[in-house]
């Protein structure tokens, strides 16, 4: 198979993809990490090593914002894991039930929020939850829970959780679809064998189906993790770049945007922005590595 002549067609087939991918994705990624090691002094770019990271983690003004954004981001992720994925799995389990009528209709309808943009979702919920319009309070009144209403998006203690739940509402379609696909691949014989042994209904779900779809749940978890740690759009659309009230909905994405692009009185600082991007990169990398080496390799895969 070893030939002296170069097989040009391989090069021609590979070159465009590799070039675009390298130039627009990989190179900027490393260049951003490199920029994090510099700072600007009187129009000059000066190498400062890890100084920016020290500022980010320990300088009182920066550190407060950074840890706040990081903590909020973890809370955002936790709500997705605890609410979005169980609901998605439950919906998929219902939809995959044999002989369920209108399954395709339900599936398509529940997926609709997922295809809409964050801007639409953000504003739509902002209007619905708004005390001015009054849809949310009057609907709660109708079921006798009117006293529970509060302007959730405007209160520091509720705003982040509310937005996380809106995001859950939007993205529940994705775990639903992926788990649904996984459930369809379980052969009927296995379930019938279970029935013969008396395992039916809920027990069949917990004892037979759930172990078989664990790999898909793993994939969903890592997709959720990566998605949440570079989230930005929903918060920006609903609360603006300042992630109000009082930065209570600030996550790493909005923090990075404000820092490197500048906002209102704050001047943009590409080097500090790069440092935040570097921190995000490290967090995502750790998450992906935990998944690849810690979870995926240990997970039992059943040959179906």
């Amino acid at each position: 198979m070893k030939q002296a002549r170069i097989r040009w067609h391989i090069l021609v087939f590979l070159a465009p993809a590799i070039l675009v991918y390298t130039a627009v994705m990989i190179f900027p990624l490393f260049n951003t990490l490199r920029l994090a090691l510099y700072t600007r002094v009187d129009q000059e770019r000066v190498f400062v090593g890890l100084e920016n990271f020290r500022t980010l983690f320990f300088d009182p003004i920066w550190a407060e914002q950074f840890w706040n954004a990081l903590g909020n981001n973890f809370w955002f992720f936790l709500i997705h894991m605890l609410v979005q994925n169980p609901i998605g799995i439950a919906l998929a389990a219902l939809l995959s039930h044999p002989r369920l009528r209108f399954a395709a209709l339900y599936r398509s309808a529940i997926f609709i929020p997922t295809i809409l943009s964050f801007v639409i979702i953000g504003f739509a919920w902002k209007l619905i939850l708004s005390p001015i319009w009054g849809i949310a309070p009057s609907m709660l009144d109708a079921v006798g829970l009117g006293s529970l209403y509060a302007p959730w998006l405007g209160k520091e203690e509720y705003a982040l959780t509310t937005l996380a739940l809106v995001s859950v509402w939007q993205f529940v379609g994705i775990p639903m679809m992926l788990i649904y696909a996984a459930l369809l691949t379980i052969p009927e014989e296995i379930l019938e064998a279970g029935e013969v042994d008396g395992i039916t209904g809920m027990a069949a779900f917990w004892k037979i189906k759930l172990p078989l779809i664990l790999p898909s749940i793993g994939i969903i978890s890592i997709l959720t993790f990566v998605g949440n740690f570079n989230a930005f759009d929903l918060i920006y659309a609903a609360q603006g770049a300042l992630a109000g009230p009082d930065f209570s909905t600030d996550i790493l994405g909005t923090f990075m945007y404000r820092t490197f692009f500048g906002f209102q009185l704050q001047l943009g600082d590409p080097h500090m922005g790069s440092a935040i991007a570097g921190a995000m990169f490290a967090i995502i990398l750790v998450g992906v590595c935990i998944y690849l080496f810690g979870i995926q390799t240990r997970m039992r895969r059943y040959q179906l």
Partner: protein
């Protein structure tokens, strides 16, 4: 077959749960759409009522069409999405073919290199991307967005397409080679038509995130003449916060094209996701 599995009470409970969730999923969209066709008074007085002859009004749409250049935004979004998809599919299919068809040194490594981008979001590199676009003068052009989305879509496209290309029969390609077809002709004439379903899956997967993205239009192309529909509606709504008719109409105008496309392509999309493209 089995009693438990076909218990009518169970069936009712299942439909009940699914209908409830479907209502939760559709309610906000429904509210926005119906209220966009009402006059200001009825929006506030009876937000849940359907528009009737008395409350019907298109004042919001008139404001939107006068004040915002939504046709231009729509056109920009269209150009960016279609062009990005074209490049993702063309370049992705070419690279996938090279990786799945030929054995050469560095094949594995190249595959792994491309796979890196599946998990790592391109947004991390935004600072350097912006710097590069400024340096090359591409900032505030649609090309900046097209390039970014092409790079973003390629890793997964190559991954999915090469899985499918491995299944194309070798006999067919070898028959082509014996007939004296060049490698390019084999790829474009024999292989590409056979992986069309996989290409459709990749296209549908990429379409929604590109169309809906706010981050890159905001940073790379915020100029009036390059605004995409997503950014355009964001800015527009931000300016008209107090004009509820205009805001609701703008939201509806942003929802409708996506909804129509979804109704046309939902079978394709759902089949794509459930066919196990994401393994």
């Amino acid at each position: 077959m089995n009693k438990v599995r076909s218990n009518p009470l169970n069936t009712v409970a299942m439909h009940g749960a699914l209908i409830l969730y479907t209502l939760i999923a559709l309610f906000p969209v429904f509210i926005i759409l119906i209220n966009s066709f009402k006059d200001r008074r009825s929006i506030f007085r009876e937000p849940l009522a359907l528009p009737n002859s008395e409350s019907f009004s298109t004042i919001g749409y008139e404001t939107v069409l006068q004040q915002g250049d939504f046709f231009l935004y729509f056109q920009n979004s269209m150009i960016v999405t279609v062009a990005s998809l074209f490049f993702v599919l063309l370049f992705g299919a070419m690279a996938a073919y090279a990786l799945s068809e030929y054995r050469f040194r560095g094949n594995m490594l190249m595959g792994l290199y491309l796979a890196l981008g599946i998990m790592i979001p391109i947004r991390i590199g935004t600072v350097a991307i912006l710097e590069m676009m400024v340096a090359t003068g591409l900032v505030n052009t649609l090309w900046a967005l097209i390039l970014v989305y092409t790079a973003q879509g390629l890793p997964l496209a190559v991954f999915i397409l090469s899985e499918f290309m491995r299944q194309v029969s070798d006999d067919l390609k070898n028959a082509g080679r014996i007939d004296g077809l060049s490698e390019y002709t084999i790829f474009f004439r024999l292989v590409l038509p056979l992986v069309r379903p996989a290409m459709a899956t990749v296209a549908v997967f990429n379409m929604i995130p590109i169309w809906n993205d706010l981050w890159f239009p905001l940073i790379l192309a915020p100029a009036e003449e390059t605004k995409t529909l997503t950014l355009g509606s964001q800015v527009f709504i931000g300016q008209f916060v107090t004009d509820w008719n205009a805001v609701l109409s703008a939201l509806s105008m942003a929802i409708l094209p996506v909804l129509i496309l979804y109704i046309i392509f939902s079978r394709q999309l759902i089949r794509g996701i459930t066919s196990g493209a994401v393994k």
